[in-house]
């Protein structure tokens, strides 16, 4: 119950932040990605502003073993290395982000006021997420095979 309450609170803060910062406005997001057009730098402030409290939180996390509700904390320094899935997946995600100006957070936050277009995007995104796991495994197998050659 407590976990769900704080998850709801975190989701709510995230949503309000996305709303205030203009991340739910697809023209603003596309303006940020359009470096060679009428470039809009607002997103740099959003990302910078978001990284700041999180960088402090990671410092705090490094000194504790468990989170407030008792779960083990993720490591403050990630040991994992980038792989083929990170690169391929991120390029595909970026392409979709540029095409419509929506990423997963704002797409969900605007579910009730984004009209039919926003709902269609959510359905397509969920379908993409549903078919992704076997593709991810294939890429993983292929890239380890390539490394062994």
């Amino acid at each position: 119950m407590k976990r769900s309450f704080f998850a709801f609170l975190s989701g709510a803060m995230f949503g309000v932040g996305l709303l205030i910062s203009g991340m739910v406005d697809t023209t603003k997001v596309q303006g940020w990605l359009d470096v060679f057009g009428n470039w809009d730098p607002t997103l740099a402030f959003v990302l910078g502003g978001a990284i700041l409290p999180m960088a402090i939180a990671w410092r705090v996390a490094a000194r504790r073993r468990v989170a407030v509700l008792g779960d083990p904390l993720p490591m403050a320094s990630s040991p994992a290395h980038p792989d083929a899935n990170i690169v391929i997946g991120s390029v595909l995600f970026g392409m979709g982000w540029g095409l419509a100006g929506l990423c997963p957070g704002p797409a969900m936050a605007s579910a009730t006021f984004g009209g039919w277009g926003g709902l269609l995007f959510l359905v397509a995104m969920a379908a993409g997420m549903y078919v992704a796991p076997p593709i991810r495994r294939k890429i993983e197998i292929r890239s380890t095979q390539l490394k062994e050659i």
Partner: protein
């Protein structure tokens, strides 16, 4: 007007980062929008599904109330259904292959200097930038 947009961006960003900090320090979880939804969609969430559903409920309901109070918020999304479907599929598949999006890799990854997060961010910015060049400046469709 433009300066005002930067200030709102910064304030909104601080709130987004605080949300991620809360989720990390209280629940012990990384706040990644695509992971939270994706885990529910592909069934990998298992024991964490209640928490994920609660997060999404907050993310959808509270902005809905604010938008209602403000008399609606414009997202200015394209009216071309083919573009919307293609974009949604790319975002869905891409974020799940990469195991993260703007919130997970961008906010939570960069802030702990994760190489995976930084590499992901470079490549999704590159992907998005190239799409703008091609579809806006070459083809003129978005």
């Amino acid at each position: 007007m433009i300066q005002e947009a930067w200030i709102w961006g910064l304030v909104g960003g601080l709130l987004i980062g605080s949300a991620a900090a809360l989720f990390l320090l209280v629940n012990g979880r990384i706040m990644g929008a695509s992971g939270i939804l994706g885990g529910l969609v592909d069934g990998s969430a298992k024991g964490t599904s209640a928490e994920k559903i609660a997060f999404i409920a907050g993310l959808v309901i509270v902005p809905a109330v604010i938008a209602l109070a403000m008399g609606g918020v414009k997202t200015n999304i394209t009216s071309n259904p083919i573009v919307i479907i293609a974009a949604g599929l790319l975002v869905g598949v891409g974020t799940r292959l990469a195991n993260g999006c703007t919130s997970g890799h961008g906010v939570c990854g960069i802030s702990r200097l994760s190489l995976r997060g930084i590499v992901a961010t470079v490549f999704y910015l590159l992907g998005g930038g190239l799409m703008m060049v091609f579809f806006r400046h070459v083809l003129g469709v978005i």
